[in-house]
Subunit: 392 residues, 2 copies
Amino acid sequence: MRDVAILGIGHSKFGKRTDVNFLELGWEAIKEALEDSGVSQEKIDFVAVSNFGLWSSEPSPVAPLLEYAGLNPTEAIRVEAACASGSAAVKAAYMAVASGSADIALALGIEKMHESGTGDVVELLARIGNYFWEFENFGPTFVGYYALYANRYMHDFGAREEDLAKIAVKNHYYGFYNPKAQFRKKITLEDVMSSPYIAWPLKLYDCSPITDGSAAVILASEDIAKKYTDSPVWIKAIEGATATSNLSKRENFISIPSAIEAAKRAYKKAKIDLEKPYKYIDVAEVHDCFTIAEIIAYEDLGFAKRGEGFKLAREEQTYIGGSIPVNLSGGLKSKGHPIATTGVSMIVELTKQLLQRVEPERQAPINNGLALAHNVGGTGHYVFVSILSLEK
Amino acid sequence: MRDVAILGIGHSKFGKRTDVNFLELGWEAIKEALEDSGVSQEKIDFVAVSNFGLWSSEPSPVAPLLEYAGLNPTEAIRVEAACASGSAAVKAAYMAVASGSADIALALGIEKMHESGTGDVVELLARIGNYFWEFENFGPTFVGYYALYANRYMHDFGAREEDLAKIAVKNHYYGFYNPKAQFRKKITLEDVMSSPYIAWPLKLYDCSPITDGSAAVILASEDIAKKYTDSPVWIKAIEGATATSNLSKRENFISIPSAIEAAKRAYKKAKIDLEKPYKYIDVAEVHDCFTIAEIIAYEDLGFAKRGEGFKLAREEQTYIGGSIPVNLSGGLKSKGHPIATTGVSMIVELTKQLLQRVEPERQAPINNGLALAHNVGGTGHYVFVSILSLEK
């Protein structure tokens, strides 16, 4: 297996992007990644695009994207793993380079969710749950699914709504400093607590928004990377796992089995101590589609013991200066959550963190040169955990 | 790069499969591939699923498929490249093994098109053309796109409708002997010529049908393959290329530029003489979504000189015993064309051909131990050309 380096990154402004069309939105990230890497289009051997696109009329978006970006005749595929599609695209590009099938590969995540109205988007997303047994029979939406988790978690461990709310406050705090974030507004605990309930105990400010946005990474083999950059970031691991989407078959509602499995595999591959990963990882981006999801992620990833993740939130241990800073981009909550873009956006953000290229107010101290991304599809149908490193 | 072997294959009956649901249809191919390979579910490290699924209400079908097939917690992604999605899935699984990311990987193609009515399916497929510039403005369907090609080809080279019709006659002839084919009925030139025009000069019998079906391949690294089989088939190349989907930007309507490019790359990788590939390849499956497409494929692949592909049809050179036998499965025309299954089905079929496991009436003589698959997405938005070999 060849080592794989991140050669360049690109990221559009996230938000309600009615100012650009789909192709222009994709080009924003691709152009930035090309410029960042110094690679021109004809050098790219393989492209993986993630675009869930349920809200769009275009059923095969890769063809027009490639043409618009001047990337024909490069080999290309689209990949999907629900909200973890972005990580799946990075994985495909990673495998292309690691296998020797490509020397330079591009992964693009793109989503333009405002092509449909909010109600339609919420319904379309709900179908990603368990369509046949749950959506058709009971009609839950995603906030409902995660409210189940929040209920059980609070019941079992004594966490309070305020603990969940603190996740939102933190992520908005950091999102304020991220020029690419959708919501650049600091909020208070009172703002979250007084926001309307969507599905008890989750309130409006516990939820990530509907977002348009794109992100791109350019990957290369070691020998190619050396020619282009003195500061490659290496993908040490990008490991996926799956679980049933049928919540009635889950063993419990306090953990995501596929996240535990993916983390175990990623730590093993990157040779990180399974017991105390937070001692090694400088900064993490985790999938906070709802605030409860970030707390469960702390536990699934081994940042806290089972049932104690909420204490990291309560004690503000995931701010800069705490035991492990998490979601310094603003997370899905404040940066935004363009479904199939999110996984790529996490890799872009962590690359910038490791290279100390983010705004000073949200730059983590880089000690060990290791960063972690945790990207969940559905309610854990698919999870990818990735480890980036400054050392090969 | 690690060598990649085909360890096992599975293939459902193609047709109107109202007798099974989506998950059962997927399991038909997976079960057969597991049994064929001797591999059990927990040995599989990576799954790539291709399912276009526009006609389905299930937006993220991989999760229920994996659960139903007992494949959790295996890492999995869905891939899409329009009608070349199946090849893209095989490519993803191939890269997983070649890179060392997986030792054993499964590629599954599945499509259940009869979940929507014929009119809806034809419209949904038409959107895969160039959605923004062509579908929305002029409303062509796929038979219309390929009729443009047929018109120009006949005009430039003097081919006749009867030459196209002979492709349909040949493919139905072989499909008759394929128990998995949708249409097991021999037809005459007169049958084709008297069938109603859909888009001049293409008639009903020039068109591939709407099909439900699944196909699966299990791939493995060399050391693993040795443990399971004495007769591995090797993937020597699986190369993709892309082109604009916007037909008004194509240089001509007598060739598919991405097919030429993908073939060039595949021949180079498999070290096959670009000038006379038909001297080396024992048998081929090509993308005959419409009869004209098979004739243009002959030329794009170098089986005939430009403008002379129709003579291979006229002189019956692509029957067994001719210069290169093509579509001995019945092709898309008679075997059927479940969109995202087709690419996987081609690899299944060619593996059986190389191992001399097909029905005697449609078994090609295997001399050089090389087989070729040509799989087109859209009107050439994506093309994959694969070369299989009995020799590593």
